[in-house]
């Protein structure tokens, strides 16, 4: 697929909407005079730079982190068989899988439930701090990080879905039963809150931070 560059108003250098006194709608990319409050094309609220966004980012981030703690302390799954009852936390479940020799699945769960959530907390915090305090790291790298966070965050839900699937599927009367633990709820909430945190972030702040 061919990529077409767009002509820029001033030769050679990228110009921002703010520099020429206009503001763009972040939902439908329509251009309005600076100070316009609402995009009449798509109905979105327009702000040139949404600094309150950072407060929303931090608010969701903190709630997400608070949910992530019980998500790791409580059991995610309770497996009852004829001979035993086993309760597994997220990390415990990964260890059990490794002991059973299912390295691939252990890796998937470890990535989705430990690496991605922890990485996401760190990445969002870094992006928000960089926007607040300025940074020397290149904007394009931070933009890449933001895109990864936006794209990959949803995949953490996989462990919650596995719990929901297993606990509805494995109901074999006396033989075996799997039931969800409280961690499933907390983990799901944590994923939702961190997704909201990432969505609240105003990506334009990434590019402002380098200039100033």
């Amino acid at each position: 697929m061919q990529v077409v560059g767009l002509e820029i108003p001033r030769n050679g250098k990228v110009v921002t909407a703010r520099e020429i006194g206009v503001v763009g709608c972040q939902r439908c990319t329509k251009v309005w005079p600076l100070g316009t409050k609402r995009c009449t094309r798509c109905g979105a609220t327009i702000v040139s730079r949404d600094h309150k966004a950072l407060q929303r980012v931090w608010a969701w981030w903190i709630v997400g982190l608070l949910c992530y703690i019980p998500a790791n302390l409580y059991p995610m799954l309770q497996t009852r068989t004829l001979v035993s009852v086993q309760q597994d936390t997220i990390v415990g479940g990964v260890v059990t899988l490794i002991n059973h020799g299912s390295y691939g699945i252990a890796l998937v769960i470890f990535l989705a439930s430990v690496m991605i959530p922890v990485g996401k907390f760190l990445a969002i915090a870094f992006l928000a701090l960089a926007a607040q305090r300025g940074t020397t790291s290149p904007s394009s790298q931070r933009m890449g990080l933001y895109e990864i966070v936006e794209y990959i965050g949803r995949w953490s839900m996989i462990d919650v879905f596995v719990v929901a699937i297993l606990s509805s599927l494995v109901q074999l009367n006396a033989l075996a039963a799997v039931n969800p633990g409280p961690a499933a709820l907390f983990f799901g909430l944590s994923v939702i809150f961190t997704m909201l945190s990432a969505q609240s972030f105003d990506a334009r702040l990434i590019w402002d931070a380098e200039r100033s």
């Binding site: 002509e7 769960i109 499933a184």
Partner: protein, 207 residues
């Protein structure tokens, strides 16, 4: 500023605020922000009709996947097979019912709602009629719901679940699992066909 061209000829990158003249690419080409590489405009020939066709396929698949079993289990003579609706209805009490409600919302209701919204918005556009009432609102909602539509993640979840209890019992994929796999592909296809800028423009010009 005196040199600023008419605002309707400009486009702003929503991710980095860079501003450009609109130079509408040909079908199959893409206009990309030079600074952050966000795709701004990507028109496709007959995209509207194709998206509606794919949306209808998604609609039928989601409905069928909801009622047919996605996994079945067998151990020591006991047998159980579950559909997504079974999975939702099995918890009837406690706060954990939220988990199953959330799961069903993200893998069934939100994909279904998005499909309906997209058809509602695009059908009048494709048929050369004025936009439907509240089409802008409907398209905004559909876009806002995009990250919450998780059918493809559920398909991977099924595979993980299968291997996780493989040593506990005999497990087999049901028809709904394969439907979710097809769904995953269709949703990606639909997304790549959809040029948001073109949709917004068509909703505006007809006003």
């Amino acid at each position: 500023m005196s040199t600023t061209p008419p605002l309707k000829d400009l486009i702003v990158c929503p991710n980095c605020d860079a501003i450009y003249h609109v130079a509408e690419p040909k079908f199959g080409e893409r206009a990309v922000c030079q600074r952050c590489h966000t795709v701004l405009i990507a028109p496709r020939r007959r995209a509207g009709a194709q998206i509606i066709a794919v949306a209808l396929a998604v609609f039928i698949l989601v409905l069928a996947a909801a009622v047919t079993p996605f996994l079945s289990i067998e151990a020591g003579g006991a047998r159980n097979s579950v559909s997504v609706l079974d999975a939702a209805l099995i918890f009837s009490g406690g706060p954990l019912v939220l988990v199953s409600l959330g799961t069903v919302a993200m893998i069934l209701f939100i994909p279904l709602l998005r499909v309906l919204l997209v058809i509602y918005v695009l059908f009048p556009v494709v048929a050369d009629r004025p936009p439907a009432k509240h089409a802008a609102w409907a398209f905004s909602l559909s876009e806002a719901l995009r990250p919450w539509s998780m059918a493809e993640i559920f398909a991977i979840g099924c595979a993980v679940a299968l291997i996780k209890v493989a040593d506990l019992a005999q497990i087999a994929f049901g028809p709904a699992f394969w439907m979710f796999c097809v769904l995953t592909v269709l949703v990606v296809v639909q997304d790549s066909f959809l040029c948001r800028w073109s949709v917004w423009k068509s909703l505006e010009t007809a006003k």
